[in-house]
């Protein structure tokens, strides 16, 4: 029981991170109907920018953890958001109206490019960050087993909650959110109402990138290490989360993220550590083949 609880805590932490990345996939899919394959790299860039930002802040003597984390989050959002914007502008916007696989192929190209870009400029080695936040709370003890939630886990779950709440507010109650939903439902009509569709799509990419930046920051804090390749696996897992929740659905992405985090944690804890990635891929294949609309998605009617 204690072990189960510990795995649940670990799974929730991971799931929060996946959920944030998944939101980027799901928003972009909802609005332009493409898999932004480069989104995993955007997350990796967010993690790297966070790492660099911590180092730069260190130069200025800002090492008090709460302040440093908030500043780094803002910095990461700005720079990563710029990458998100640029990716859409360069690789996707010129392809609207092209043949149906073109955006995905372009996205794969972009993903390869960004990975190698970071590798070339920052080196292929694993970069580490000295632990910024330590400590934690022991929830309870069962025999020799201690169920702990670390401060950093609390911070991650809280921060993810705040970001998700902020996004929900943005989508539900602001002018931009309404424009996004309008574009998602009927892009042509949205334009005729006076919504600048191109700008709305760009902002969707920026928001997705900002959330990925948040996830990148968290993962930097959680694992304390980053390399240029982390985007691939995290990207596929987050995409799985988005599909599991029902692609296009924002609450679905959050739910899917948490579920994928839990699946991975339980599988790693009970079945086999070596095959925990297989569990996620298996979920991906199973969901896509058996219920492609996901848990909270809407069925797609093929038009003849």
């Amino acid at each position: 029981m204690a072990y189960f609880l510990q795995q649940t805590i670990n799974g929730l932490t991971l799931g929060s991170i996946y959920g944030l990345i998944a939101l980027g996939y799901t928003m972009v899919y909802g609005i332009v109907g493409m898999i932004n394959f480069a989104h995993g790299e955007i997350y990796m860039i967010g993690a790297f920018v966070s790492l660099i930002a911590f180092a730069v802040l260190g130069l200025f003597g800002i090492t008090w953890a709460p302040l440093a984390i908030v500043l780094v989050l803002l910095i990461a959002i700005v720079f990563t958001g710029a990458f998100g914007w640029a990716v859409e502008r360069i690789a996707y916007r010129p392809l609207r109206g092209s043949f149906h696989l073109a955006p995905l192929i372009s996205a794969i190209g972009m993903s390869i490019f960004l990975q190698n870009y970071v590798q070339l400029l920052q080196g292929a080695r694993l970069r580490t960050l000295p632990a910024l936040v330590s400590g934690g709370v022991t929830l309870f003890r069962e025999n020799d087993f201690e169920v702990r939630i670390s401060t950093i886990q609390i911070a991650i779950i809280l921060l993810a909650g705040v970001l998700m709440a902020a996004l929900t507010f943005l989508i539900e109650h602001t002018r931009l959110g309404r424009s996004q939903r309008a574009c998602e439902q009927d892009m042509g009509m949205a334009g005729m109402i006076g919504i600048n569709v191109d700008r709305t799509i760009s902002l969707t990419f920026v928001i997705g990138a900002a959330l990925a930046a948040g996830a990148g920051l968290m993962v930097t804090l959680y694992y304390g290490s980053v390399d240029f390749f982390i985007g691939f696996l995290a990207g596929v897992k987050a995409f799985t989360a988005a599909v599991l929740g029902g692609i296009g659905s924002i609450p679905g992405a959050m739910l899917g993220g948490i579920l994928i985090g839990l699946v991975e944690a339980y599988w790693g804890g009970y079945v086999s550590g070596a095959y925990k990635d297989v569990s996620v891929f298996a979920v991906l294949i199973l969901v896509l083949t058996v219920m492609p609309t996901g848990l909270l998605g809407k069925p797609h009617i093929q038009k003849v």
Partner: protein
């Protein structure tokens, strides 16, 4: 009205300056994190190296370039012009084409005998041909049938491990293992393909990527069978119709060099490997060209063009996709079997997603469905690193960006012409030409 131009010019200049300024600002933001600041842990903990001059240079270049672009008609006018010959596809008429094909084949066969062909050059040509073969195999799936397969490397791995295991456990030789590897990969293709081929294009791509990764992780972790990360070593080398390439034969038999009375040289084996892959690649070429002219090949292309119309013509999309998927897998398996024989050692490291991405890049850049394009793209990919170390480093960077640009400028690939699978003899019909609507 007369004052129009003088009023307009400053406005336009203003707009151009604004655009250039925005572009420069964006460049500044994008270049600071990775170009401007580099994490430098040479002194232990996270040190930082700053390169402000790079950032400044880039910003200036972008600002000026954007200004110039605005004066010359904007980004839209800035497209590379491709020679018109490429546009229609290289269509050579019989006398020229026959001579050209004969010439290329002759050169390919003579290559290992050339005096400059050392161990290194032959090795390079061999890996080039492996990529060509993989590209042609994947071209069936992506180029002809229009199914984006991001896990092609799984079939390559299946072929390699089939031979690796057959060789180390049962001592089965290359030539017997070759068809078995192809069969194993094709079977795997069938098994994987059956449940997923109903999916829409982009979902299919992600699912195949998932399969590719699952196979790799299994290879990595099922140590009892696959040797885990250590892989399988000591895989049998292909013999020359039963004759080994060695200084002395193990059980006192004849060796290749003895039979032909040549002094033993390790080059013989390399040259033989080269001929084997050349033959396999040519076989693949013949096989795929033939398939394209058969009903199944036309059905693949029709499916790529319009799946709903195919259904209305009574074609069963699932069956047709499955044949493309498994035949592509089979060719990947054959290439994998050869790869294992060439290396003598295989490990999961050779079968990562990057490898799938490289093969896909070859197909996409060369021109989906175009066989000559694949050859050129594979030559660039294998040849680029030879131009220098820095080219090797930038190879994938360039390939990634090239995939984006090719989708924007020439979605059909560098060589995008398609030659019909069959031509009608129109001599009978010339007289009764149709009434063409004005």
């Amino acid at each position: 009205m007369a004052s129009g131009p003088s009023l307009e010019t400053p406005a336009r200049d203003h707009k151009a300056l604004r655009n250039a300024g925005l572009a420069a600002l964006l460049t500044l933001v994008l270049s600071i994190p990775f170009i401007g600041i580099r994490l430098d842990d040479s002194q232990g903990s996270n040190g930082l190296a700053f390169r402000p001059q790079w950032v400044a240079g880039l910003v200036v270049v972008v600002f000026v370039a954007r200004l110039v672009l605005d004066q010359t008609g904007g980004l839209a006018a800035w497209r590379p012009r491709f020679p018109t010959g490429l546009k229609r596809g290289l269509r050579l008429e019989p006398p020229v084409s026959t001579i050209l094909i004969a010439l290329v084949l002759g050169l390919a066969f003579a290559f290992p005998l050339a005096p400059f062909a050392s161990r290194y050059e032959i090795g390079l040509a061999t890996s080039f041909l492996i990529y060509v073969m993989l590209g042609w195999g994947l071209n069936i799936v992506v180029g002809l049938a229009g199914l984006l397969d991001l896990g092609y490397v799984a079939f390559y791995a299946a072929g390699a491990y089939t031979f690796g295991l057959l060789s180390t456990h049962f001592g089965i030789g290359f030539w017997l293992a070759l068809p078995l590897s192809g069969l194993a990969a094709a079977t795997l293709g069938m098994l994987l393909g059956f449940p997923v081929l109903r999916l829409r294009g982009d979902y299919l791509a992600i699912v195949t990527l998932g399969f590719g990764e699952i196979i790799r992780i299994i290879l990595l972790n099922w140590s009892d069978l696959t040797g885990g990360p250590n892989g399988i070593s000591g895989i049998g080398r292909p013999s020359f119709f039963g004759l080994p390439f060695a200084a002395t034969a193990p059980n006192g038999g004849t060796t290749f060099s003895k039979l032909f009375g040549l002094p033993f040289s390790p080059l013989h084996r390399l040259a033989w490997l080269y001929y084997v892959i050349l033959a396999l690649a040519l076989l693949t070429l013949a096989f795929t060209s033939r398939l394209r002219r058969l009903p199944i090949g036309r059905a693949w292309e029709a499916l790529r063009e319009d799946e709903i119309a195919c259904q209305a013509l009574g074609l069963n999309p699932t069956v047709i996709k499955l044949t493309a998927f498994s035949l592509g897998a089979m060719l990947g398996g054959l290439a994998g079997c050869f790869f294992a024989a060439k290396q003598g050692f295989i490990s999961p490291e050779s079968f990562t997603f990057s490898e799938s991405a490289i093969i896909l890049a070859i197909v996409v850049l060369g021109g989906m469905g175009n066989q000559l394009g694949v050859v050129i793209a594979a030559a660039v990919l294998v040849g680029l690193p030879e131009l220098g170390r820095s080219f090797a480093e930038y190879r994938m960077l360039v390939f990634g960006m090239a995939m984006v640009l090719i989708m924007i400028w020439r979605p059909g690939g560098l060589i995008s012409g398609r030659s019909p699978s069959i031509r009608a003899d129109l001599s009978r019909f010339k007289a009764t030409g149709p009434e063409v609507a004005p």
